[in-house]
């Protein structure tokens, strides 16, 4: 089974919340996530993302860090206060190493560096969705 098939299998029942302020990137990445995830909510900044999170059941949060209104870190802090076990993947640019240190305390599932590389993205998403599914199975038991 190819990794795309595996991811598709993993994510077809899952809901992703994707938050990004840059229009061009948001448009492309949301198309990519849309290929795999059953349901997707898209936020344009931290504040908007947090609202969407509160309104919906979300399995995975994928978010940028540098954003207007509320930045990614503050948004994640807020989300973790609601659900400390919430799975989060951070999409960030190489230069934001200062921000990365701040995220260390936040129990992030993984980082994707911009510009993204397909294999890394697929493997991280596959790994994290796998974990989510396992947890879901545990819960059902």
């Amino acid at each position: 089974m190819s990794i795309t098939d595996e991811l598709k299998e993993n994510a077809k029942e899952l809901t992703v919340l994707y938050v990004e302020d840059e229009d061009d990137i948001r448009s492309q990445v949301s198309q990519i996530l849309g290929l795999f995830f059953g349901t997707m909510h898209v936020g344009v900044n931290g504040l908007n993302g947090l609202e969407l999170y509160k309104e919906n059941e979300v399995d995975l949060v994928v978010t940028d860090l540098t954003m207007p209104k509320m930045n990614g870190i503050d948004m994640i802090k807020n989300i973790k206060e609601i659900d400390s076990l919430q799975h989060v993947i951070v999409l960030t640019a190489h230069n934001s190493s200062d921000n990365l240190i701040e995220t260390m305390d936040l129990q992030i599932d993984g980082f994707l560096l911009k510009p993204m590389k397909m294999d890394k993205m697929l493997s991280l998403l596959t790994k994290v969705t796998n974990t989510i599914n396992l947890e879901k199975k545990e819960e059902k038991k």
Binding site: I25, Q28, I32, K114, P115
Partner: protein
């Protein structure tokens, strides 16, 4: 040819001398008389007597500030100098002052103009005539090859009334002259100066023709008082010839002596000094004058035998050298019979230029015979033996010059140091700016790079999943091309910024701002800073180096960005961060106003922000020269200013792009 000189005692003796020498029978006879009794009556008496007894001769007269006969310096005497020519034609004329000095120069030179003219000897009245304008007029209407000599009449330092005469006509305001024309006549002219420029150069900040109002933006009389003391400055204009101003033109030190002092504190000089010219005080250096006194004869060392020598020397030399004024004539008088007078200004010319000198000794040497002697062995006269009487003056002059020189050297070293420091600062600021720019490019590029990468992943995934449609390929390819164009434009704009040695030219301020925002925009947006340009005067253009203005604006924007960063970490609930850039005009001078709400600069350090090496940034983050350089650039490159104002929540920088009236 030959010249004979006579010291006038009375009419009878003069007539007797003229008859003994049978001058009346000569066809080409030039008479100059130098009259140390500066009254109209005396001038009239002598000129009438001469004209009556020598009706064919060309007779010029001038009042003086002392007379020269051989190596004697005389005072309140009258010297009659008669030159008889054999191979030379003499033409002479006069003109009275009517419209202005320049026209007077044109008029007399036009009247005198002849073929084969070798030298022109001109005397003008010494006061209320602009000698320099006169000389310009003469030069512009005469042959460049013709030497100009002569000078301005004196009146024993009273500065009240000078006279000149032509034949038996005495003139109160005008010019007289002769021109000597010959193919055989050789003429050599030369001059000696010897005044030593001392102290630092001062800029003439206000002057009109030969009146100076201000030096270094101070009333000129105050400047004299400052350096020489009240007692000396009260002696102006009389003392002015001894402490002239020296201006350097074409490498030539030209002195300008004071002739009059006006109620408003301005001074009249014996020659023009232009606004913007740099002048230094001149100190008459007895030492230098005496040391170089033999130099005046340097043209004769090759064996040239002058048959006549005339000396037109500045009144200041007689006054400064006093009883030793004759020393500098000693060597000269060993070559020929010399005569002449002390003037209020000397005419001198070489092939390129003509000059109105002050403070110099000028000579012309004439010879109709091309006979050369064996080159003389030069025996320099021993100066020190002449110095005993003037030992104190010698010492003071020497000491003053040494002190001035030491001081100058110190200043030079400091200036060189400062210049090097400035250069270093400039390089440092430029490098810091480069760093800034590269950071900006990185931000500018990251976004399209990320978008392109995401697009490629998208296409690749769709393809591998068998879901890729043609229109998606088309759309994404187009998108990638667009992004690449954007990145390329960024490089172009960046290259334009770093291009070295941009020329000074007219540019629109709004264009400059737009390209800066183009480069910095992504970075500022990344910091969530909203930048807006408010143009109240969108056509504002200035002339200058655009890259320097860019440097200033980028520096201030980068500072604002860093200031937001500092308050940003305190809390994220602050109001929207903004930078507003306005282009306005005040008194027709464009202003660029950059305002932010990043908290502002505390009152206690506001005064220091333009000091070099002052920074509020953490160690390693700021050099402390950004605002210092920016302020320098606005002041020096744009004759403007950089001002800071504190606003309620932040800072306001005002870039004044030109000179404001107030």
């Amino acid at each position: 040819m030959f010249t004979l000189n006579h010291q006038y005692k009375n009419k009878v003796e003069l007539i007797k001398w003229l008859e003994e020498n049978n001058f009346a029978s000569e066809d080409e006879c030039l008479v100059q008389f130098f009259c140390g009794i500066p009254t109209k009556e005396m001038m009239q008496t002598v000129s009438s007597t001469l004209h009556r007894h020598l009706p064919k001769a060309h007779i010029l007269g001038s009042t003086t500030d002392g007379e020269i006969l051989s190596d004697d310096i005389l005072y309140e005497s009258i010297i009659v100098s008669v030159s008889v020519f054999k191979k030379t034609k003499i033409y002479s004329t006069f003109t009275t002052y009517s419209t202005n000095s320049y026209d007077m120069g044109c008029k007399i030179a036009t009247k005198l103009n002849q073929n084969d003219a070798k030298v022109m000897i001109l005397f003008t009245t010494g006061l209320a005539i602009n000698g320099e304008h006169f000389l310009d007029g003469v030069r512009n209407t005469s042959d460049d090859e013709c030497i100009i000599s002569g000078g301005l009449a004196g009146d024993n330092g009273n500065f009240k009334q000078t006279f000149i005469s032509y034949q038996d006509k005495v003139i109160q305001k005008g010019a007289v002259g002769v021109i000597l024309c010959s193919t055989e006549l050789t003429v050599k002219n030369n001059y000696e100066f010897g005044w030593e420029p001392v102290g630092l150069p001062m800029v003439v900040t206000k002057s009109k023709d030969n009146i100076i109002y201000e030096l270094n933006n101070l009333p000129i009389i105050d400047v004299y008082t400052k350096y020489f003391g009240e007692e000396i400055s009260n002696m102006l204009p009389k003392i002015g010839v001894e402490i002239p101003l020296i201006v350097n033109r074409n490498g030539q030190n030209i002195a300008r002596a004071t002739l009059n002092r006006y109620e408003d504190g301005s001074l009249l000089f014996a020659g023009n000094i232009l606004e913007g010219e740099k002048v230094r005080f001149g100190l008459g250096s007895v030492e230098k004058i005496l040391k170089n006194s033999d130099n005046i004869c340097r043209d004769f060392y090759d064996g040239y035998i002058p048959e006549s020598v005339f000396v037109y020397s500045c009144m200041a030399r007689r006054r400064l050298l006093n009883t030793q004024a004759n020393i500098e004539l000693k060597m000269l008088s060993s070559y020929a019979n010399i005569s002449g007078f002390f003037t209020y200004g000397e005419f001198f010319s070489n092939k390129q230029n003509s000059y109105l000198f002050n403070e110099t000794m000028t000579i012309i040497a004439l010879s109709e015979n091309n006979i050369k002697a064996e080159p003389k062995k030069i025996v320099k006269s021993n100066i020190t033996k002449h110095l005993d009487k003037n030992i104190l003056m010698y010492a003071v002059t020497h000491m003053t010059n040494v002190i001035a020189k030491e001081w100058q050297e110190k200043v030079d070293v400091e200036v060189a140091k400062n210049k090097m420091q400035e250069e270093q600062n400039f390089q440092q600021a430029k490098q810091a700016q480069m760093g800034e720019m590269i950071g900006m490019i990185a931000h500018q590029w990251r976004q399209p790079l990320n978008a392109i990468s995401a697009t490629a992943i998208n296409v690749s995934l769709l393809s591998s999943m068998g879901m890729l449609k043609d229109d998606k390929v088309q759309k994404d390819s187009f998108f990638i091309q667009e992004q690449c164009q954007k990145m390329s434009e960024t490089i172009d704009t960046f290259m334009n910024f770093v291009k070295p040695g941009k020329e000074s030219r007219k540019f629109k301020i709004s264009d400059t701002l737009n390209s800066i925002i183009y480069i910095m925009g992504a970075q500022l947006a990344n910091h969530n800073i909203i930048v807006s340009i408010i143009e109240t005067d969108e056509d504002s253009s200035i002339v200058g180096h655009e890259d320097l203005l860019e440097q200033v604006i980028i520096n201030i924007l980068a500072n604002a960005r860093d200031a937001f960063n500092n308050i940003g970490s305190v809390g994220s609930n602050q109001n929207e961060k903004f930078i507003k850039i306005g282009i306005e005009k005040q008194d027709n001078v464009p202003l660029v106003i950059i305002e932010d709400n990043a908290g502002g600069i505390p009152d206690d350090i506001q005064k220091k922000i333009f000091n070099p090496y002052f920074t509020t940034k953490e160690q390693g983050k700021g050099t402390g020269i950004g605002l210092y350089m920016s302020s320098n650039i606005m002041k020096k490159a744009f004759s403007g200013d950089l001002k800071y104002e504190r606003t309620e929540n932040g800072s306001k920088f005002i870039l004044v792009c030109g000179e404001l009236d107030s």
